[in-house]
Structures are given as structure tokens and as C-alpha cells.
């Protein structure tokens, strides 16, 4: 079967309660709590084929991590169907667990107070990896990740970037079929981020495993993903190739103009183009639909003291911001009508 993951009408609800400050409210909460139902995921349908590299994106609290945890079997869905590699993740079949791996950028799976090698040897035992296979995997991953000298240092003494590499190594030891990465590059410096991305791409090319990545960094998305699933307020807002997403806003280009003196941000010329001004008001970034480019450029060059200008395809970050801004409102309306 070529489908790795499929979900139908998947949903997850959480119970939360509010607590207000102050002595009276604290005492009140000793006896009574007002619970609210928070829908983290609603009506989620999607399908991921084996070997795909998919990005799950969305604002904080959108539900990406909840989705990932449902797919790994950590939390149980409230409704709907979910199938991963033919298993119901919630059953947590032992064979299922041997086929998946999860890396969470914000939580470490390596033991903190001992060298990483000890944790890796432990994982070898958990996953019943033979000594020969273990050595082979260790050699391959150590070389790819360039962590040979870090294996015998206490994990808490390593930098974030080094730790992340070892986390990746730990999750790949047992050659999983699906790898879930939850914000793997969070908090890393640019160099470390690039290294991780390069490694993931190389690994994916070599092993054709399925990879699902959540991230806030557009650079991750652009580098790694063929397909983008956008999650907003618990629902699927977009699902398709990355190129399609950037086309969503029409064929727009980002144009940058630099002036030799500050220009007022109130100027009518710039108003319709999502202008982003620099603090000294001498530089502006505009999102301009392609048909309007020539006329707008001539107008600005004529009316303002331009020293430099340039054009680029819309960076995905910009596209994401605009898309989310445009769609939050309409999504909210959609929900409002649904809930009536």
C-alpha cells in the first residue's frame, strides 16, 4: 500500500478552565471550576503517501503538535478515523512503535546527565537492534551528522545544535519508516539550522522514508518540503505543493525601493500594496501584482527620489502572513455559521 497516513473527519477536544487572580477567586476555585471545551482539531481530512516530505505549518496553537501526537499514538482522537502505516496509532502496537520515530525540538529524549552514547546504547536495546546493524547505523549517522567527538560528552554540556544532531541520530537508529519532526530547528543558529536541513534532505533522498515536519521557520519549509499542509484554528486551510501556495495570492512580486530621504508612509502611491517601511522610512517593501509592476515602477521613479530598487518573487513568509491575515477572518466566519 502506498498510503502512509490517512485521516477522515479527525477531531480532538481538550478541557480547560480559567483561573482569575486574587484571593477571592483562588478560594472560589478550591470548590468550583468553570470548564471550557477547546477544539484543537476539527474535521481534518488528509492523506500522505509513502516517501513524501510534508510540512505542517500554522500559527501557534493551530493544532499542529496535536495532530502529530495523534499520528504517533500519544493522544487519542475524540472523533474520526486515523490510520498510520495501516495501524490505528492509539493501539500502540509494538510493531507500529518500531516503525515510527518522533523528535521534538523542545523536549529532549536523551538522558541529561550522562554521555549520549549511553542513551544510544539503551535505544539499541529498546528497538532490539543487532550489534552489527547498530554499528553500521552508528557509523553512517555519525559521519553524516559529524558528531563523532560529541558522543562521549555529557549531554547537558553540549550546545543546542550538537544536541539536536544527537537527537536526530537517536531517532534514526532503528531505521523508522515514518519520521515525525516537531520544530526540529527551533532555537538553533543559522549555521546549525542549515546543517540539520541538509542532513534531513540527504537522509530522505537515501532512504525514501516518509517525513512530517512542523516548523515556524520558512527557510525550513522552503528547503525541505514538497508539500505544505496549513493548519489554522484546528482546520486544514491549505494542502498542496509549495509552489501552488505562493501562487495563491496571484502572481505578485516583492518590490523594494530605497530613497535618499525619508518618505511619508501616508503617501497614496504605496497604500494598496501592503507596504512595509524601514524605521527610517527610507526603504519600503511592496507586494505588487505582476500586471501593475511596470506602471507602478515608472510612477515611483518619477515622483520620488529613488536611489535603488529591486524585484523578487514573493517570499513565502510574506505570502503566509497575508494568507493568514486574509483567511483568519473568513475562517472565523465559516466557523460562526457552522456553529449556529
Amino acid at each position: 500500500m502506498s498510503v502512509a497516513i490517512s485521516s477522515i473527519n479527525l477531531a480532538k477536544n481538550f478541557k480547560t478552565y480559567e483561573k482569575n487572580p486574587g484571593i477571592w477567586n483562588s478560594l472560589k476555585s478550591l470548590f468550583h471550576r468553570d470548564y471550557k471545551i477547546n477544539s484543537a482539531i476539527q474535521d481534518f481530512n488528509f492523506e500522505i503517501k509513502k516517501g513524501e516530505l510534508v510540512a505542517l505549518l500554522g500559527p501557534n496553537g493551530a493544532g499542529k503538535t496535536t495532530l502529530m501526537k495523534m499520528m504517533t499514538g500519544i493522544i487519542v482522537p475524540s472523533a474520526g478515523k486515523l490510520s498510520v502505516l495501516g495501524f490505528d496509532p492509539w493501539e500502540r502496537d509494538k510493531e507500529f512503535r518500531k516503525k515510527i520515530a518522533l523528535v521534538m525540538g523542545q523536549k529532549s529524549q536523551l538522558w541529561w546527565d550522562i554521555p549520549a552514547m549511553d542513551s544510544l546504547l539503551l535505544l539499541q536495546k529498546y528497538y532490539e537492534i543487532s550489534d552489527m546493524e547498530f554499528k553500521r547505523r552508528m557509523d553512517e549517522l555519525t559521519t553524516l551528522l559529524d558528531v563523532g567527538s560529541k558522543l562521549h560528552i555529557h549531554v547537558r554540556k553540549l550546545s543546542l545544535g550538537e544536541r539536536m544532531k544527537l537527537e536526530l541520530m537517536a531517532c534514526l537508529l532503528h531505521s523508522p519508516d515514518i519520521i515525525f519532526l516537531d520544530e526540529p530547528t527551533i532555537g538553533l543558529d543559522l549555521m546549525a539550522q542549515e546543517n540539520i536541513r541538509k542532513f534531513l534532505l540527504d537522509y530522505h533522498r537515501k532512504h525514501s522514508c516518509t517525513m512530517i515536519i512542523t516548523s515556524h521557520y520558512m527557510a525550513d519549509v522552503e528547503a525541505l518540503c514538497q508539500r505544505l499542509v496549513l493548519v489554522m484554528q484546528g482546520r486544514k486551510a491549505f494542502d498542496g505543493p509549495l509552489a501552488e501556495f505562493t501562487q495563491l495570492l496571484g502572481d505578485t512580486r516583492e518590490m523594494t525601493f530605497i530613497f535618499d530621504k525619508p518618505i511619508s508612509a501616508q503617501e497614496k502611491t504605496f497604500k494598496d500594496y501592503d507596504a512595509v517601511w524601514s524605521p527610517d522610512n527610507q526603504k519600503v517593501d511592496l507586494l505588487v501584482p505582476f500586471p501593475k509592476m511596470r506602471d507602478l515602477t515608472s510612477q515611483i521613479l518619477r515622483d520620488f527620489p529613488v536611489t535603488e530598487f529591486s524585484t523578487e518573487k514573493t517570499p513565502i513568509e510574506r505570502a503566509m502572513k497575508t494568507f493568514m491575515k486574509n483567511n483568519t477572518h473568513s475562517l472565523q466566519n465559516q466557523f460562526a455559521t457552522l456553529n449556529k
Partner: protein, 268 residues
């Protein structure tokens, strides 16, 4: 079936061997704690034995036992305490932390029994240095109480039974952390029950004794083995214990499954 046997005899021991290595690695990192914990335990043993000793300077008997017999019972409990300290206790505290931080996610994902990983993952190597001492105390007081050397044939079995009873009760209590917001309070509850188990059953009477023997059977931990060793014909409590252990095992598995259903890991 074959797989289960293979697991018990090959896989889990090899996992545990590596867990032991990890613990050794950790222990040699925290050397001050290593020494301090040994001293702390010694102070605890001294306090336990001496407290009862002081009482016996004023009375000849407590219940049916004289000084040596009572100290013998206490020594047996100290052995269980030593094993508890070594193989179990650290895990109860890390369980509450893992629940809060969501690190339990990783434990659930491993293709290994999560209950085993959760409650037996951390081993305290340093307390093993006190193990000869507590056994020494047992044999010393046993000798004074008139325990025949050949009775000690039963000792490994009795210790395992006592330890299993204690472990299962404490794990069961700890599992209530799935339902409480802040887990550490449950740890203190668990320690209170552990405290109660350090006293023989005849200290309590009436309803308290029935509850603490049959409902939350902490009194079934040390009293049956000690009573049996002191007097072979007093084997009925051991029968109760033998019945209790599988029941407790069942209860723990049930609580774990229910608790996990409730586990919503901390959000990202």
C-alpha cells in the same frame, strides 16, 4: 507465548543491564550525592532501630514480640527499604516530572512496556553499598530472636514477595498522578503508606487494621514474611500475600490503561 518468554529472559534483562550502565554513568557524575545518600540511609537505619530500642528500654514486649523479634522485623523492612531506594524510589519523582513536562511521550513511543520503563528506569547505585549492612542486621537480630539458619532458605522468596507487594501498592498510588494536576502531592501520600508499612500489623486494630491489610494492603508487605520466618506455623498471612500480588498486578495494569487514556501531553 514464545515471544513473551523471550522477552522476559532475554530482552528485558538486556534492557535492564543497559539501564544499570546508564545509572552507573550518572552516579559517577554526582559523586557528592553518592556519598551523602549512603550517609542519609545510615542515619535513617540508626534512627529506626534506636527509636524502637529506646521503647524497649521501658517495656519488655510490643504485641507478641520481644526486642529481638521486633528488631528482626524492622531489619527485614530495612532490607525492603534498601531495595526500594535502589530500584524504585527515584522513578516516582521523575514520573511526576515527566507527566508535567510531557516527556512521558517518549516513554510511550518505545516498543517496550511503558510501565516497566516508567517505574524501573532509574536505579540508585549508591544505596547498594548499604545492602550488606541491612542483611547483617537481619541475621544479627535473627540470631538473637532464635531464627534457625535453615529458615533463611525462604529468604529470597520472601524478600521478592515483600518487595513486589510494596512496589505494586506504591505504583498503584502513583498512577493517580494521571488524575491530579500537580503530581507531587501523590508522592507524599505514597510515602505515608510506605511509613505505615514499616510497622507490624498488630500495632493497628479494628477497622484500621482491616483496611490497611486488605484494602490498601501495606501491612501485607513486611509482616507476613517476618512472622513466617519467626514461626513457620504462622504461614496464613503469607497465603494472603501470595493471593494479593497477582490481584495488585491486575489493578496496576487497569489503572495504567485508564490513566494513559487521560494523559493529554503538555502542549508544545
Amino acid at each position: 507465548m514464545l515471544k513473551a518468554i523471550k522477552n522476559i529472559f532475554i530482552l528485558y534483562p538486556s534492557i535492564y543491564r543497559q539501564l544499570f550502565n546508564c545509572a552507573l554513568s550518572k552516579a559517577t557524575t554526582f559523586r557528592t550525592s553518592f556519598v551523602l545518600i549512603i550517609i542519609m540511609d545510615l542515619i535513617f537505619y540508626a534512627s529506626t532501630i534506636l527509636s524502637v530500642d529506646v521503647i524497649f528500654q521501658h517495656v519488655p514486649e510490643i504485641g507478641p514480640w520481644n526486642r529481638s523479634e521486633f528488631q528482626f522485623f524492622l531489619s527485614f523492612m530495612l532490607i525492603l527499604d534498601n531495595l526500594h531506594m535502589t530500584f524504585l524510589s527515584e522513578n516516582f519523582w521523575s514520573f511526576s516530572l515527566d507527566l508535567k513536562s510531557g516527556a512521558l511521550d517518549y516513554t510511550i513511543l518505545r516498543p517496550v512496556s511503558p510501565i516497566f520503563l516508567t517505574f524501573f528506569k532509574s536505579i540508585r547505585i549508591c544505596t547498594l553499598f548499604n545492602t550488606p549492612l541491612v542483611f547483617g542486621l537481619l541475621f544479627y537480630f535473627g540470631h538473637k530472636a532464635g531464627v534457625q539458619p535453615h529458615s533463611y532458605i525462604w529468604l529470597p522468596f520472601l524478600i521478592i514477595m515483600g518487595f513486589l507487594t510494596l512496589a505494586l501498592i506504591e505504583i498503584g498510588i502513583s498512577l493517580f498522578m494521571f488524575w491530579s494536576v500537580e503530581g507531587n502531592g501523590i508522592n507524599f501520600l505514597r510515602m505515608q503508606f510506605q511509613n505505615i508499612s514499616r510497622w507490624p500489623d498488630f500495632i493497628f486494630d479494628g477497622l484500621a487494621r482491616k483496611i490497611l491489610f486488605f484494602a490498601i494492603p501495606v501491612l501485607m508487605v513486611g509482616t507476613p514474611p517476618a512472622r513466617f520466618l519467626l514461626n513457620k506455623s504462622d504461614y496464613i498471612p503469607m497465603v494472603f500475600q501470595a493471593v494479593a500480588v497477582p490481584l495488585l498486578l491486575f489493578g496496576v495494569k487497569f489503572l495504567w490503561d485508564k490513566g494513559l487514556l487521560r494523559y493529554e501531553s503538555a502542549s508544545s
